[in-house]
């Protein structure tokens, strides 16, 4: 899932203070699971902003709504009642959702209310960990099920580097060195290639932002047939 964290209230206030009518728009997808952008957070943020607006003497009307998923055109269409007459909106979805919202309601000034930080997994309640950068060329089959692109600070494909100590990453002593994990797994499974086989430079032309719509369509069709 996409993990996001809230932006500061100061940032949000700055983005809306010169507007007359705004909408706080949540998303029922990832940001509801990792609760920063669901219905509940929309209600909370809207309340806080209303109290603030009143205190400041601002003439600001605040609507609230949540799309089932902000990255799906049909769900964004359903927001049209609440978006009507708004000159600004705060999206609590990831960057994908916020952009879809901005594209659909082009006369509304959309600002993000959260920062999407990574694609990650829930390690324990409240703790999420990056697991994928969406590089478009997954190699975890060759690396014991661990992704060095997202989980090594230097994205080494021929690791480990010389900086790991006690099985921890040099960049953050709380993070396990993924190449130590790959090594351990390879020892258990007998797959020595994970360590010994040369991995050539990665094809980064696949990302970022080079995927055309056509490219995705071709790939999807290719999988189906």
């Amino acid at each position: 899932m996409i993990v996001a964290k809230p932006k500061s209230l100061e940032y949000i206030k700055k983005r809306i203070k010169n507007h007359k009518k705004i909408a706080v728009v949540g998303c029922g997808g990832c940001v509801t699971v990792r609760p920063v952008g669901g219905e509940k957070q929309v209600a909370e943020l809207a309340s806080v902003l209303r109290i603030w607006a009143k205190k400041e003497g601002l003439n600001l009307e605040i609507e609230e709504d949540t799309a089932l998923r902000q990255c799906e055109p049909e769900f964004i269409d359903e927001l049209s009642d609440k978006m009507k007459g708004c000159d600004a909106a705060i999206s609590l979805a990831c960057g994908v959702g916020a952009q879809c919202l901005a594209e659909r309601y082009s006369d509304v000034k959309v600002s993000p209310g959260v920062d999407a930080v990574f694609m990650g997994a829930t390690i324990e309640p409240g703790l999420y960990w990056e697991r994928c950068v969406g590089c478009g060329d997954c190699i975890i089959g060759e690396t014991g099920g661990y992704c060095p692109v997202s989980r090594c600070a230097k994205s080494l494909l021929n690791g480990p580097c010389g900086g790991s100590q006690g099985g921890k990453c040099e960049v953050d002593p709380n993070t396990p060195c993924v190449w130590e994990q790959i090594y351990k797994r390879s020892e258990e499974s007998g797959d020595r290639d994970a360590i010994d086989k040369f991995v050539p430079p990665k094809d980064w032309s696949i990302r970022p932002s080079r995927l055309t719509l056509e490219h995705v369509r071709v790939k999807t069709e290719g999988r189906a047939t």
Binding site: A153, L156, P160, G167, E170, C177, Y183, F198, V199, P201
Partner: protein
């Protein structure tokens, strides 16, 4: 002979070599490099020029190496993958070779988090193993990474770093083998303070026959103070400083003790089969290198062929 550098020539002749590290300044001031060059000349066979070491901005290694060469010193150009993608790396390396540089140390590089610009976007398009392979291909097959043929390949004597102290001995020896297979002809190791672990690692290296396929130079560095010893143990990634070294520094509290420890370690390293030389990294303490080389009994250094006066 591949590149015909002084370093390569001496190693192939079976001489116990000395290399030393030279850190460029964080200013557009060539006199700093010139002063360090004058200080070090004749005390090592080749001089590593660091590439923004620990991710702190410094004069570029290639530019500094030009100044060194003008002063009559042979550089080992250090090149990291931290700041350049595959286009920048190949471009700079063609330039370095055209300027007459013959030794290249291929590194992944430290993460920017440790430097003076921790908010920088790290590149790491390639890693050190891929960099070695790319340069070897440019040199031996006259092809860029893209496959494009080039008329003249860069003739570098290729080096790599290895840290015997990070993780298990098995993985560190296998990574040495991987770098060798990718193109490394010489190695300069992380600073050795834990001689026992280094010795065990060298045994693993010999058991794999790797010491016969590439030259291994053991890294050494004099400690300036007990504080520096503790700092290195706690803050430098992958550094193994045993407690007895820290205790020795604490007891005597002198630079002389730091030099003595360094000399003791060099002496022990010379006896290890497969150690082809030492690499002295006197970080921002280059002026001590001549004393260490002299007291270690490693003088005089053989005169570099290219700089000899015609008879």
């Amino acid at each position: 002979m591949i590149a015909g550098s002084n370093l390569e020539r001496l190693l192939r002749a079976g001489k116990f070599v000395v290399t030393a590290e030279l850190g460029p300044p964080n200013a557009a001031d060539r006199t700093v490099v010139e002063k360090k060059a004058a200080l070090l000349k004749g005390y090592a066979d080749a001089f590593n020029v660091t590439d923004c070491q620990t991710s702190v901005v410094r004069m570029s290694s290639i530019a500094s190496a030009v100044i060194l060469m003008e002063a009559g010193l042979e550089p080992v150009v250090q090149m990291t993958c931290r700041d350049r993608n595959r286009i920048g790396l190949q471009s700079d390396l063609l330039g370095a070779a055209a300027l007459g540089m013959k030794n290249l140390l291929c590194l992944t590089g430290d993460h920017p988090k440790f430097g003076d610009h921790p908010t920088a976007k790290p590149v790491f398009d390639l890693d050190s193993v891929q960099l070695l392979h790319m340069v070897k291909t440019m040199r031996d097959e006259k092809r860029l990474l893209s496959g494009t043929e080039i008329a003249v390949g860069p003739r570098f004597f290729l080096g790599a770093a290895e840290n015997p102290f990070a993780g298990t001995i098995d993985i560190r020896a296998r990574r040495l083998a991987k770098k060798m297979a990718a193109g490394a002809e010489f190695f300069q190791t992380q600073i050795v303070y834990n001689v026992e672990k280094f010795t065990a690692w060298m045994k693993a290296v010999r058991d794999m026959g790797l010491h016969k396929k590439a030259f291994i130079l053991a890294g050494v560095a004099p400690l300036k103070s007990p504080g520096m010893a503790r700092y290195m143990k706690q803050n430098i990634p992958g550094m193994d400083v045993p407690d007895e070294i820290i205790a020795r520094m604490k007891e005597k509290k002198s630079k002389e003790e730091g030099i003595q420890i360094c000399l003791d370690i060099i002496e022990q390293l010379r006896d290890i089969e497969g150690v082809a030389g030492v690499h002295i990294m006197a970080i921002e303490w280059e002026e001590i290198v001549p004393e260490i080389v002299e007291r270690a009994g490693l003088l005089p250094r053989p005169a570099p062929e290219s700089f000899r006066n015609p008879v």
